[in-house]
């Protein structure tokens, strides 16, 4: 089917066009405010040659994974509990509303004070940046469940545990997965910032270090491009989870 293949090629063709325009603009300019794509590619090759590319990517992904997974494991059950019990929500809500608007980056000094410069600090910052959004997602997801589902389940004689497992859990799953996808994106943004200050490896460190140690802007942009590509891949992976058939329903079906 020719139309299909054209639809697939179009975004790539457009990116290629932009790259050419970028290269052209940089080569015509007398100043050196931005490295061109060829220079950037050279930067990536440099990183590969020194064995840093894989090392830094692994370091960043390692921190994101731990912070994200820890936050999910703690925030989701807690959020489901709070959402399910009105009294718990009344108790937790003021605290949540205070913590939520604090940027995870504001925690950097405290993270370093508590955990020193190293992986633990970065993981802690990622954890914070994921914990509150996931907690709120889980609470909202529970509260959005139409009461008719819970009533129907009780009518069929389900125990409290049965209602949680057979109604609450499947009812919140699509929203939770969307929440996880968005939060993973946030975590990927925060890890770069955290690595600029709290550690000395990873893609965020690469960017700061490249500038500090000799104004290697080719490496700075190379780092940015790699961050973008990995972020895209992470999002793509989470999106494919969302597309699973049993999750594709929504309340607003009719």
């Amino acid at each position: 089917m020719p139309h299909r293949s054209i639809g697939w090629v179009r975004p790539f063709a457009f990116v290629a066009l932009l790259l050419v325009a970028w290269q052209f603009a940089v080569s015509r300019s007398s100043t050196h405010l931005l490295p061109g794509p060829i220079e950037t590619l050279g930067g990536v090759a440099d990183l590969v040659r020194h064995g840093l590319l894989l090392k830094y990517i692994t370091a960043s992904l390692f921190r994101v994974t731990w912070g994200f997974v820890l936050a999910a494991v703690l925030a989701i059950p807690l959020g489901l509990f709070i959402g399910w019990h009105r009294r718990a929500e009344m108790a937790f809500n003021p605290l949540l509303q205070i913590f939520r608007p604090i940027s995870p980056l504001a925690w950097i000094p405290i993270a370093i004070l508590w955990f020193g410069v190293g992986d633990l600090s970065a993981v802690f910052l990622i954890f914070l940046s994921c914990f509150f959004p996931l907690l709120l997602t889980a609470i909202n997801a529970v509260q959005r469940i139409p009461s008719v589902y819970v009533n129907a389940a009780r009518n069929f004689g389900l125990s409290e545990g049965g209602v949680v497992w057979r109604v609450l859990y499947p009812a919140v799953l699509p929203q939770l997965i969307t929440g996880l996808r968005i939060t993973l994106g946030v975590a990927w943004i925060v890890v770069v910032a955290a690595e600029m200050i709290a550690v000395n490896s990873g893609l965020g460190f690469l960017i700061v270090d490249a500038r500090n140690a000799g104004d290697r802007y080719d490496l700075v942009v190379a780092g940015m491009v790699i961050i973008g590509v990995i972020g895209l891949l992470l999002d793509y992976g989470m999106r494919s989870l969302e597309q699973s058939k049993s999750l594709r329903w929504d309340y607003s079906e009719d």
Binding site: Y149, N151, A152, G157, V167, L173, W249
Partner: protein, 239 residues
């Protein structure tokens, strides 16, 4: 029965006395907002009356019970389960083989063969309603409570669904309590029609529908009964 909201309490039902016989098809009609659904929710055990009590087979109703299944306006289906999964939902206490047999039986009864693996979102309004009835019947309840079940359907589907419900009821012989604001619907379906007054509501009159099924909806007796109920509700014969 009284509701309290923002410190103000609104009496909804007052002095309701209603006996329902086993295997009977009872319709409850009344002006909108009169408390028909509240009464049905109390029968179902979802609301507790502020005074008085509801007894079924001599036993007080204290909460929802699988012997009395409430059918919501097609909204009670679980959208994450298939047709099969929805019908199977209430059968968790049965052995696997019997579960499968029941599911197959009720899918056939409501004419959803071929849609076993479909999700509710892929079904039409009438099919969803049939599915919800099938899910309710599958647990073999003594009593079915339907709260304006066909209210969201178009008029053609609604007529078909009435016929289907009567056919199923003749096969299963559950006690049916059916709330509607449609007087024709009530006279077409019910053995008896309970007419409710405005708020705070009570049962104004109980009308016996002494016409055999299938009912001729242009017969003089049908029109007479229907007009009698319209008069009870204080509605003129002409618009």
């Amino acid at each position: 029965m009284t509701f309290t909201r923002d410190g103000k309490s609104t009496p909804v039902l007052h002095d309701v006395n209603l006996d329902v016989a086993k295997g009977e098809f009872l319709c409850i009609v009344g002006p909108s907002g009169c408390g028909k659904s509240t009464l049905l929710s109390a029968f179902g055990g979802f609301l507790a009356p502020t005074s008085g009590e509801i007894r079924i087979d001599g036993e007080a109703v204290l909460g929802p019970d699988p012997r009395r299944i409430f059918v919501f306006q097609e909204r009670g289906l679980f959208p994450w389960l298939t047709v099969e999964g929805n019908i199977e939902f209430g059968l968790f206490k049965l052995p696997k083989a019997e579960r499968a047999a029941r599911v197959a039986h009720y899918i056939k009864m409501v004419g959803l063969d071929g849609f076993e693996k479909a999700y509710p979102a892929e079904l039409s309004g009438g099919m969803k309603q049939r599915l919800e009835v099938a899910r309710a019947l599958a647990v073999k309840p003594d009593m079915l409570m339907l709260d304006e079940p066909f209210g969201a359907l178009d008029s053609i589907t609604r007529l078909i669904m009435r016929g289907e419900l009567l056919r199923i009821w003749r096969e299963e012989r559950n006690t049916v309590i059916f709330v509607t604001h449609d007087i024709d619907e009530a006279v077409q379906l019910a053995d008896r029609v309970a007419v409710m007054s405005g708020r705070p509501a009570n049962i104004q009159k109980i009308v016996n529908i002494d016409i055999a099924h299938p009912r001729d909806i242009s017969s003089p007796r049908y029109l007479q009964l229907r007009n009698g109920i319209l008069e009870q509700l204080g509605l003129a014969h002409q618009i």
